[in-house]
């Protein structure tokens, strides 16, 4: 293949855009560097023990991140468990089943949810969602309340409220991306499925399978938002650092403790501990994103010919 002709403009353009891309790398590295440097005090004092310790006592100067890591991961995963089916349902309905006239207004409304500031979600959470969840919690039969998942007093604020608020906040992101991905399925794909006698459900399944990488990407985008969300979560989660499986228990997240305590932290150890929480959050986000990349990479590596026909035509059993 012959090399494309180059001109000074091309070189300049490549260099310029390359520079912009480099800025992202520099900013990310800069954040990691500053977080590392500013948390030197607690890194030196607690080492890796910081990750596994439950205690968080600014008065005696004992700090550990485990309860916050747990709260962040647990609330985000619960939120995904609620929001993923919802977002997929919305995306499938809008791209496959929805009457044309309704499509635009509905898509607009879901995307409007994304534009609401998180403080508004937080206030809605405190004044509307929490009392409703408290009523639901109190109405739960005793045998359910006896399980570890629903143990403890029913006060409304806690993990369940946080998960629901987060889920509502990430649905528009996941559903918007999933809808775009589903829209990108070639018409020939759908027509082919129908031509082979597929039902609507089967054709939708094929479309989902065809777009699985994008769908996973949509879910992961939601996860990224959930991990870092601060205001709305802190207003309804109860802000109590503890590791508990109970959905009723008040807990705490990494982003929330930074937002809550940074402004009034006066001792240098306390400030350092909060910065290190930022470093932990940075690392956890990095690991989660890397894991989702790995997942997508593994999915795209699968042999292509199996991907579309497999669900329809049963494979011949090898002898």
């Amino acid at each position: 293949m012959a090399r494309p002709r180059t001109s000074a403009g091309d070189v300049l353009f490549q260099g310029g855009t390359g520079l912009f891309a480099l800025v992202i790398v520099i900013i990310t590295a800069g954040i990691a560097f500053v977080l590392w440097g500013r948390s030197a005090l607690t890194i030196a004092k607690f080492g890796f023990g910081f990750w596994g310790t439950d205690r968080w006592d600014p008065v005696s100067g004992d700090f550990g991140a485990r309860t916050f890591i747990w709260g962040t991961l647990y609330s985000s995963i619960l939120a995904l468990a609620i929001s993923t089916p919802l977002a997929l349902g919305i995306a499938i309905f809008l791209s496959e089943l929805c009457p044309h006239r309704l499509r635009q207004p509905l898509a607009f409304l879901t995307e409007l949810l994304a534009a609401i500031p998180s403080i508004v979600y937080g206030l809605w959470g405190i004044f509307v969602l929490v009392p409703a969840i408290r009523a639901v919690e109190q109405a739960l039969p005793d045998w359910i309340r006896a399980t570890p998942l629903f143990s403890g007093p029913a006060v409304g604020v806690g993990m369940m409220s946080a998960a629901v608020v987060l889920a509502v906040m990430i649905v528009p992101f996941s559903s918007a991306v999933a809808r775009e991905v589903l829209k990108a399925v070639p018409a020939a794909q759908r027509e082919g499925a129908y031509a082979l006698g597929a039902t609507r459900w089967e054709a939708t399944k094929i479309a989902l399978y065809y777009t699985r990488v994008g769908i996973v990407g949509a879910v992961m985008l939601g996860l990224g938002r959930a991990l870092g969300e601060t205001m709305a979560v802190t207003m309804v989660i109860g802000n109590t650092p503890q590791v508990s499986a109970s959905l009723l228990a008040p807990q705490y997240t990494m982003a929330a403790v930074i937002a809550n305590e940074f402004a009034e932290a006066t001792s240098s150890l306390h400030i350092s501990a909060l910065v290190e929480i930022g470093l932990v959050l940075f690392t956890v986000t990095l690991v989660v994103n890397a894991a989702s990349r790995l997942l997508i990479w593994r999915m795209t590596r699968q042999p292509h010919e199996r991907s579309i026909v497999a669900p329809l035509v049963p494979e011949e059993k090898s002898a």
């Binding site: 008065v59 007093p153 109590t240 809550n260 940074f262 402004a263 009034e264 932290a265 001792s267 306390h270």
Partner: protein
């Protein structure tokens, strides 16, 4: 047409005149959010009296105020907590504390079926916050509230999730009245709470207490006054049950003034005096004794002098308790040392 031609010239002339006529003096400060409303009022009123003086205040929090004055990125700092010896040792010069106004913290509660005003003692509040008293009909609550029929509702303790001067005053008070609290929890803007839920800021705490049957929490006196939230009287060091008000908070400061340390770093919780409300505190302005910019120091001194005299008259309107006269006198003596 002439108008159009003249306008730019006129504007330029006015601007030029303004810059030449009065040398603007701009002072920047940062710190506590609690006194922000009264400080903003002071700065704007002072600017009306002295148009050349422009004071900017960033309410970034007490921690931010202390770190910014330490790094000398602002001319003055403000804090709801006196600076610790450790923090003072890190500043490049000697720092003076100036009490400016007073605040109080009040217990608020939501007990179903109880309309009578509930009274509290310090040790009782500490035991509730330690998780030792868990029901509203506990003997300890009934003992200070004879004649009130109390329900067997669980107490839902509510505290501040954000680091705050309010929490500092509250935990400072509990540390003084309960040795167990002092040993297990201590006093700080953020502590490791033994029990309960956290709400964000005064409104978050108030909302949780209001919504949760059996809720018990604390908010700033100003917030309670502005939102007419009922609060209970608290027993003071003299054994009297005192309701929080601007007068009873000022009385606490007056009681403490007798033993005022030279650097004004004093806690006035559980102050002596029959009329003193026990959960009260100063908020402080932080200034260097020998600032680099002498002209700014002169302007700032004039302002502080005004704030401690005429400025105090603006306090009540915004819900702050003014300083007692004996404290102001001591502060003016300290102010004279700045040059």
């Amino acid at each position: 047409m002439t108008m159009r031609k003249l306008l730019p010239i006129a504007v330029t002339a006015v601007l030029l005149g303004a810059t030449l006529g009065a040398q603007k003096i701009s002072i920047t400060g940062a710190g506590a959010t609690f006194p922000d409303p009264i400080y903003e009022k002071w700065f704007s009123d002072y600017n009306k009296l002295h148009p050349e003086v422009q004071i900017n205040y960033q309410p970034v929090g007490s921690g931010g105020g202390v770190s910014q004055i330490t790094q000398q990125t602002v001319f003055f700092g403000a804090s709801d907590m006196p600076m610790t010896d450790d923090a003072l040792s890190k500043t490049p010069g000697h720092i003076f504390h100036f009490p400016t106004v007073l605040g109080g913290v009040v217990p608020i509660y939501n007990v179903p079926g109880v309309t009578a005003e509930l009274k509290f003692t310090g040790p009782l509040i500490a035991d509730i916050f330690l998780g030792k008293v868990t029901k509203w009909n506990d003997k300890a609550i009934a003992a200070v509230n004879p004649g009130v029929s109390l329900p067997a509702t669980d107490i839902a303790v509510v505290h501040r999730s954000d680091g705050s001067g309010t929490s500092f005053i509250w935990t400072d008070y509990l540390s003084k009245v309960s040795p167990e609290w002092k040993q297990k929890v201590g006093a700080n803007s953020a502590v490791s709470w033994p029990t309960g839920l956290s709400g964000s800021h005064n409104d978050g705490v108030a909302a949780l207490v209001k919504q949760t049957p059996g809720g018990f929490g604390y908010v700033e006196l100003i917030y309670a006054l502005q939102n007419s939230i009922a609060s209970g009287p608290v027993q003071n060091a003299a054994g009297k049950f005192v309701k929080a008000s601007l007068d009873s908070v000022t009385a606490a400061a007056a009681g403490a003034a007798a033993n005022m340390p030279a650097d004004f770093r004093v806690s006035i919780t559980n102050a002596p005096g029959a009329g003193a409300y026990p959960i009260s505190s100063f908020t402080w302005l932080l200034l260097y004794e020998n600032p680099k910019d002498k002209a700014l120091a002169k302007t700032m001194n004039d302002f502080v002098k005004w704030a401690l005299s005429d400025g105090q008259k603006l306090c009540a309107g915004l819900g702050y308790a003014p300083l007692p006269a004996n404290v102001v006198k001591l502060e003016l003596a300290q102010l004279a040392k700045i040059q």
